[in-house]
């Protein structure tokens, strides 16, 4: 620890003195003159000697306890004709007692507030006097009424007020009575109305906290302690003492600015938030280091963790806005908005829109009388009626123009990126329409075709692929029925179905249908080449997910040559195609082709208009690929390009957030941790505001990675749990993808201190349907994890981050060292194979399952450019395996029954010994050069 220079000198001075043990002081001084010590030190030595004779009264006369006075309690004393019975509570500068009037037949109790005798007289006296005046002015059923004020002979000031029977503060009352959300909102609405009254009397409360809002035995709410209330005209007085509770204090209060009515609005909003979330509404901060933006971040974060309706969240955010001009204009407005919320009317705090208002309307009215639905129905019916009246068949557009316009209006989104934001209201409306117009849909083919097309689109955007597939199938069924079949359109929709099958994870069906489809349309060469190419793409994606690389490469080849045969493709379609092929080639480790295609598609998208979204997606994917190849500089350029593109359109767009957290992973890899963290946190804030659960799920995983890197397991775990929360809100979709993402969390959760969280997560996972993913590796891993959790042997007592060790241990800096390290562990595994409990063998099975077929993946993991998340998974497993090995060597435990079952099923699919051997051989034979591409 670095010492100040002067302290160091003192130390030397002291040591010099101590070295002159037996000498007298004069002798010491003499020695000093003959020494060659620094002048500064010599001076200090002299000062030491001098002060030894001085008196240090503070520490020499008494000890500190003798210095502390004890306040004399006032119980039993007579104050202004009342006798104090007991103390009810105390605050910073006053104490409240229960009292009773002396010599009076009325036994009514009152509350007496007494100013602390030790309080500095003048400052608080001013406040105190004001309290008398203001309370005297207020006359309201929900405000504690003041009887009178006075001063005793010895100068003690006091106030006599109503005593509130069995007072509980609003926070505890809410917990006690288990109030639900609307009850709390109602209560706060009442408080707001009461405060509105006080504001009209020019009184600001200034210290609204739970302790100041009491509920008596009759359930009546009473606001107390207008103790620091100021008259509005005195609010300009800068000298007014700052006395308030930090929890619900507004930014302007903490920063010592002018206070007005709106500070009460903030505090009441904070109180509402506190009651609903049961947590502190503002972040802990020192007034000296206060940053108001932390408040809004904190509020957003708290709200994101609740299940409140958006309207209520908006109300709270409006009330607690750090810019007071953006808050409610008056307490009255606040109260009114709460009232509207409770009655399901549109709230002023929520952004107004056609959808919003109609949603509210629908919520207020029952299904049968839905006005909106009726309108649509009427339009359709009238359209149909007009057909019946005219012999001619009108065109599709004319006939249903009005209803189409309505539905199209529903789709109007100014979002250039068409992100998958939750459009709940849209879905609700569409589903309502479907229900009500079932007969119409059955009879009007063309309308139904259009309708289901749109519905698929909406579900697709929402990420609800199963429902999208359902709608698509309805559409196909429709198109393939009846007399006049529109073959091209039918084919087009069947092609769509293929992609949706892939999206829902039904790979086998997708593959077989794609093959049949390709065979069928080969007979129709005049069809849009896009259909064939789409089928190829879907096939490729399926093969790629199932790790059937050879077949994948074949399909890609076919697709590329087909593309060359049809040069007049729609350029946008071509760009999309090239993009997805680039990804496929990347997955197959064909770096050259992959990069080539990426460059082509990006160039194409740069030149085409309105392709920003795809361009950004391409840039992002290309960047990811480059990160994996170790071309960090190139990746960084790509990220930065995407960031600048998105920022010019909308700096708060969720897509920007997704680029941010991928970029942050790169930053973390290149040891720019602090910047990485800043980016992720920015990303998370954007996503929280946009309420984008899909991406938040990913973002928190990335944040967790960074915490792990810092050995901060607790925060990593918290982030992962947050990530899970958002996962739960997704409709999901591809269960195998979901499982893959869970695998990482599960390994971490197996570390002993966090066991209990693991079981929670497991419970959630058990409620999900995995029927489509049973054959995937991820599911097998998941089963092993389940078994491992129940067998406590695997739990690791180390608190160090295993991942950090593997990735950042300086001893494991180079690739060869890492491979050696891994080889060593595998050798160990081989040696002690006979002594392993079954559990470890199963562990190895799982490990092998992931890597046995593709040595290239393993090599990739060993390189410095391994994918961030996968490398962690890998390292974590390696180290956990080490733990298993250690455990095995200490005990001779038998695996539980459940575990043997899993093991058996795995054994049927693989042969342990041969695979282990093969694997080790391949490692010893491989060089350190990257797998040739």
């Amino acid at each position: 620890m670095a010492m100040r220079k002067s302290l160091h000198e003192w130390k030397q001075a002291k040591e010099f003195y101590e070295s002159c043990e037996q000498l007298t002081e004069t002798e010491i001084l003499h020695q000093l003159e003959n020494s060659d010590l620094d002048f500064a030190i010599q001076l200090k030595i002299r000062q030491l000697i001098e002060k030894r004779h001085d008196e240090f009264e503070l520490i020499e006369s008494k000890n500190i306890h003798q210095l502390l006075p004890k306040e004399r309690p006032l119980i039993g004393k007579n104050i202004g004709g009342y006798q104090l019975i007991k103390e009810l509570g105390s605050g910073g500068m006053s104490t409240v007692y229960l009292a009773k009037k002396i010599d009076s037949k009325i036994q009514k109790h009152v509350a007496i507030k007494i100013l602390s005798p030790y309080a500095t007289a003048d400052k608080y006296l001013q406040l105190f006097k004001r309290e008398q005046q203001s309370l005297a002015q207020l006359n309201h059923n929900n405000i504690v009424s003041l009887h009178h004020a006075g001063q005793t002979e010895d100068g003690t000031h006091y106030l006599v007020m109503d005593h509130i029977q069995q007072a509980r503060d609003i926070y505890h009352y809410s917990l006690e009575q288990k109030l639900d959300i609307s009850q709390i909102a109602e209560l706060i609405q009442l408080v707001a109305q009461t405060l509105s009254y006080a504001h009209r009397q020019n009184i600001i409360h200034r210290d609204l906290k739970p302790a100041n809002i009491l509920i008596d035995s009759n359930g009546t709410m009473k606001i107390v302690d207008f103790g620091i209330a100021l008259f509005a005209k005195d609010a300009n007085n800068r000298d007014s003492t700052r006395v308030f509770t930090l929890d619900s204090a507004s930014p302007e209060q903490i920063q010592g600015e002018k206070i007005d009515f709106r500070t009460d609005i903030f505090s009441l909003g904070a109180l509402l938030l506190q009651l609903l979330s049961l947590q502190s509404p503002t972040p802990k901060a020192k007034p000296s280091h206060y940053n108001p933006t932390n408040v809004s971040k904190h509020v957003s974060r708290l709200l994101a963790q609740t299940q409140l309706k958006p309207d209520l969240k908006n109300i709270i955010q409006t009330a607690m806005h750090i810019d007071r001009n953006r808050r409610y204009k008056s307490m009255d407005d606040f109260a009114k908005d709460l009232c509207r919320y409770l009655n399901n009317e549109p709230v002023s705090a929520s952004p107004d829109s056609y959808f919003y208002r109609s949603k509210k309307f629908l919520q207020r009215n029952t299904l049968g009388s839905s006005l909106f639905g009726i309108i649509v129905l009427l339009v359709i019916v009238s359209a149909l009626l007009s057909i019946n009246n005219n012999a001619q068949l009108q065109s599709f557009e004319d006939r249903n123009k009005q209803s189409m316009l309505i539905i199209d209006a529903l789709f109007e989104q100014a979002d250039p990126f068409l992100s998958g934001k939750n459009s709940e209201e849209l879905v609700t409306l569409l589903e309502k329409i479907e229900k009500e117009k079932l007969t119409v849909l059955a009879s009007d083919k063309e309308f139904a075709d259009y309708f289901y097309e749109k519905m698929t689109l909406v579900y697709n955007q929402n990420g609800n692929y199963h429902k999208a597939l359902e709608s698509k199938r309805k559409q196909i069924q429709l198109l393939s029925s009846g007399s006049k079949i529109n073959q091209p359109r039918l084919f087009a929709k069947q092609s769509d179905e293929l992609s949706l099958l892939h999206a829902t994870g039904d790979y086998s069906q997708s593959i077989s249908k794609a093959k049949t489809f390709l065979a069928k349309i080969a007979k129709y060469p005049e069809l849009d080449p896009a259909l064939t190419l789409n089928a190829y793409t879907t096939l490729s994606k399926c093969y790629s997910t199932l790790n059937r690389t050879a077949e994948d490469n074949l399909v890609l080849k076919q697709a590329l040559s087909y593309m060359q045969e049809h040069p007049d493709l729609n350029p946008e379609f071509k760009a999309d195609l090239l993009g997805s092929m680039a990804i496929s080639y990347y997955k197959n480790n064909n770096k050259t082709l992959s990069n080539q295609l990426f460059d082509e598609t990006i160039q194409l998208n740069r030149t085409l208009p309105n392709r920003k979204k795809t361009l950004v997606a391409n840039l992002r994917n290309y960047a990811t690929a480059n990160v994996n190849y170790g071309d960090f500089a190139k990746a960084e350029n790509l990220y930065q390009e995407s960031i600048s593109i998105i920022k010019t359109i909308d700096p708060k767009h969720p897509t920007l957030a997704s680029v941010y957290f991928r970029y942050s992973a790169l930053l973390a890899r290149t040891n720019r941790l602090s910047k990485a963290k800043i980016l992720i946190e920015t990303a998370i804030n954007i996503l929280i505001e946009a309420q984008d659960d899909v991406e938040l799920f990913m973002a928190y995983q990335y944040l967790a990675s960074i915490f792990l890197r810092e050995n901060n397991m607790l925060d990593a775990l918290k982030s992962i749990l947050l990530s899970h929360q958002h996962m739960q809100k997704q409709y999901s979709l591809d269960n195998s993808r979901m499982l893959k993402k869970f695998n990482l969390s599960m390994w971490i959760l197996m570390i002993k201190p966090y066991q209990k969280h693991a079981t929670e997560v497991l419970r959630f996972l058990n409620e999900t349907d995995y029927s489509h993913s049973i054959n995937t590796n991820e599911y097998k891993i998941f089963q092993v994890q389940q078994a491992l959790i129940s067998h406590s042997a695997v739990y690791n007592d180390h608190k160090l981050s295993l991942i950090s060790h593997y990735l950042y241990d300086p001893k494991l800096s180079s690739n060869d060292k890492k491979i050696q390290w891994l080889q060593k562990h595998i050798e160990l595994a081989k040696e002690t194979a006979n002594h392993y409990p079954e559990i470890i063998k199963a562990y190895l099975h799982v490990w092998m399952l992931e890597f046995k077929e593709n040595n290239a993946i393993f090599s990739r993991y060993c390189q410095a450019s391994s994918p961030w998340v996968n490398a962690q998974e890998f390292a974590l497993k390696i180290n956990l395996m080490q733990q298993c090995i250690n455990y095995a060597s200490r005990y001779n435990d038998k695996a539980p029954l459940k575990f043997n079952q899993v093991l058996d099923s795995l054994k049927q699919q693989t042969k342990v010994q041969t695979i282990l051997e093969e694997f080790v051989n391949s490692l010893t034979n491989s060089n350190n050069t990257p797998h040739s591409l």
């Binding site: 010492m3 002067s6 030491l48 002060k51 520490i59 306890h65 210095l67 306040e71 030790y118 929890d247």
Partner: protein, 187 residues
């Protein structure tokens, strides 16, 4: 007091010269002592001032440190306890106590703690100077803490340090001198 067991374990099992363990112990003890001090202060008669000896005995008994402890550990315990007491009281002085937010507990508030402004300032200065003394010679700082914040006599301290009173007295003089110089130096 459920932490008692942990404290005992810490004191007996671990090597207390390691800074990390001392810090752990400190964290545990701080809360304990705060709680004890608070209950002590509440019990007192209006006319009686707080006796440090009473406090020490209470702490000692409650933490159940019988003569089972090795002497070295006793010394460490009291050094840390005195430090805790110092931090606790300085916190009170600085008004940092979180008890205000807890609402209705009786507690020494800022205004009750000291009689005059002067005394406050002196205590602040002492605190700062002690931090500096710590860097010069930690043992001297310990002695001051044990005497002023915990209330031990020089004899008590000598026994605890397995030393003799004369020696401790010399150390005391040195500490006092250093403190005075440090305080003056900054003034």
């Amino acid at each position: 007091m459920q932490i008692t067991h942990e404290i005992t374990q810490l004191l007996e099992s671990k090597d207390l010269t390691q800074k990390q363990h001392i810090n752990e112990l400190f964290d545990l003890l701080y809360l304990e002592i705060k709680a004890i001090a608070r209950s002590q202060l509440n019990k007192l008669n209006p006319d009686q001032s707080l006796s440090a000896t009473v406090l020490v005995n209470e702490c000692y008994l409650k933490l159940n440190m019988a003569s089972d402890l090795k002497l070295r550990n006793r010394k460490h315990f009291f050094c840390i306890a005195a430090k805790c007491m110092r931090y606790y009281l300085m916190d009170l002085l600085k008004g940092k106590s979180s008890q205000k937010r807890e609402g209705h507990e009786t507690e020494l508030s800022l205004t009750q703690l000291t009689l005059e402004e002067e005394l406050n300032i002196e205590l602040y200065q002492l605190d700062e100077a002690l931090n500096e003394l710590e860097q010069i010679d930690p043992e001297l700082a310990r002695i001051v803490e044990l005497r002023f914040f915990w209330g031990f006599s020089l004899d008590d301290i000598a026994k605890l340090f397995e030393s003799n009173t004369a020696k401790v007295y010399q150390q005391w003089l040195m500490a006092k001198s250093l403190l005075l110089n440090l305080i003056d130096g900054d003034a």
